[in-house]
C-alpha cells in the first residue's frame, strides 16, 4: 500500500491511498484503503490520514476518522492521536502503520510493526526518508 497526505499553501489538507491489497486475499475482499474514514481521510482544520496494514482492523477501528476525532474532539496532538489509534488497531489484532498530518502541516508517523517505508518534506524541512 502507498499513500500521501498534504497541506497546501492555502491551508487545505488532502489524503490519498492506493493498494493491491494482501497476497492471497480472497476474491471480492476489500480492505481499508478505498474506504473513506478508515484508510483515508482529510478534513481541513483537523487532520489528514493514510493507513497501511491489515485492513480489516483499520476498518473496525475506523482508523483515519479516529485520528481526526482524537484531534478534533479530544484536543490531542497529532502524534498522540496517531499513536493511540495504532494502539487500538493493535489491541484487536491488527498491524501496520499510518501517516497523519495536522491542520498546520505537522507530520506524525505511527506503526506497530518493525518497518514502514515513509518520507516527508515541507517548506521548512528538507526531504527525508525512513524505513525502520
Amino acid at each position: 500500500t502507498v499513500g500521501a497526505v498534504a497541506l497546501d499553501q492555502d491551508g487545505h489538507l488532502a489524503a490519498a491511498t492506493s493498494t493491491g491489497g494482501l497476497t492471497g486475499k480472497m476474491w471480492g475482499r476489500i480492505g481499508d484503503s478505498p474506504l473513506i474514514g478508515s484508510g483515508t481521510i482529510a478534513i481541513d482544520g483537523q487532520c489528514a490520514v493514510s493507513g497501511t496494514g491489515t485492513g480489516e482492523y483499520f476498518i473496525r477501528q475506523n482508523a483515519g476518522r479516529q485520528v481526526c476525532d482524537r484531534v478534533h474532539w479530544n484536543d490531542e496532538g497529532i502524534q498522540s492521536a496517531a499513536d493511540a489509534t495504532m494502539a487500538e488497531v493493535g489491541r484487536i489484532g491488527g498491524d501496520g502503520g499510518l501517516i497523519s498530518m495536522d491542520k498546520d502541516g505537522k507530520v506524525a508517523f505511527a506503526l506497530n510493526v518493525s518497518g514502514m517505508y515513509r518520507g516527508s518534506v515541507s517548506s521548512e524541512t528538507v526531504a527525508k526518508t525512513a524505513i525502520y
Partner: protein
C-alpha cells in the same frame, strides 16, 4: 506560504537482514522521487489534492511498492487494485476497488470524486468509468512483477500446512 507533504510505501515486518543496502537504496530513491513530485506541486502553490494524486501516481508506477505496477496477487492469481482520495477543503471524496485495467487507480478515485455523484465504484464498472473519463487502460499483465508472482506461489504452497497464520487470508 507554508506547505507540507508526508508519504508511505507500506508497512510490515521488515528485518534489516532481509533488506540489502542496494535494495534499501532503491526504496529510498523511490520515496524521494515521489516526494519530489509532490513537493513541486505544493511549492508552486498547487492544491493539496493535486499533490497527493501526483505523489501516489509515482508510487503506483514503482514496482517496488504494493500499488499499481507491482501490486500483490489475490488468491485467484490476479491483481485487484483499490484506491481513494479525499479533499479536506470540500470534504469531497472518491474511491475505487477491484480495478484490473486502470493504470493509475488513484486517478480513477479522483475521477469518481470530481466527475461522478458517487463516492465508491467497484470492479468492471469502475474500470469502465475510468476509461470513459479518458484514464489510461492497460492489459492486466502490466501490473505483474516476478517478485510478487513468486510471493504468490510461496503463499499458495503454504496453504494447508500446519502452523500457517491464515489471518490475512480471511481478515
Amino acid at each position: 506560504g507554508k506547505w507540507s507533504l508526508a508519504i508511505h510505501g507500506g508497512a510490515g515486518v521488515i528485518d534489516r537482514g532481509d533488506l540489502t543496502p542496494e535494495k534499501e537504496a532503491l526504496y529510498r530513491q523511490g520515496l524521494n522521487e515521489a516526494l519530489a513530485v509532490g513537493q513541486a506541486v505544493l511549492a508552486r502553490g498547487g492544491a493539496a489534492v493535486d499533490a497527493v494524486e501526483a505523489t501516489v501516481k509515482v508510487l503506483e508506477d514503482n514496482p517496488l511498492f504494493n500499488a499499481g505496477r507491482g501490486a500483490v496477487f489475490a488468491a485467484d492469481g490476479k491483481n485487484y487494485l483499490d484506491a481513494s482520495i479525499m479533499d479536506g477543503a470540500t470534504l469531497k471524496a472518491g474511491a475505487v476497488a477491484s480495478l484490473t485495467t486502470t493504470k493509475h487507480p488513484v486517478s480513477a478515485a479522483r475521477a469518481v470524486m470530481d466527475k461522478s455523484r458517487h463516492v465508491l465504484l467497484t470492479g468492471q464498472g469502475a474500470d469502465q468509468f475510468a476509461a470513459e473519463q479518458g484514464l489510461e487502460q492497460v492489459d492486466p499483465s502490466y501490473f505483474r512483477t516476478e517478485a510478487r508472482w513468486e510471493a504468490y506461489l510461496k503463499w499458495k504452497a503454504s496453504q494447508g500446512l500446519s502452523g500457517v497464520d491464515d489471518t490475512h487470508k480471511y481478515g
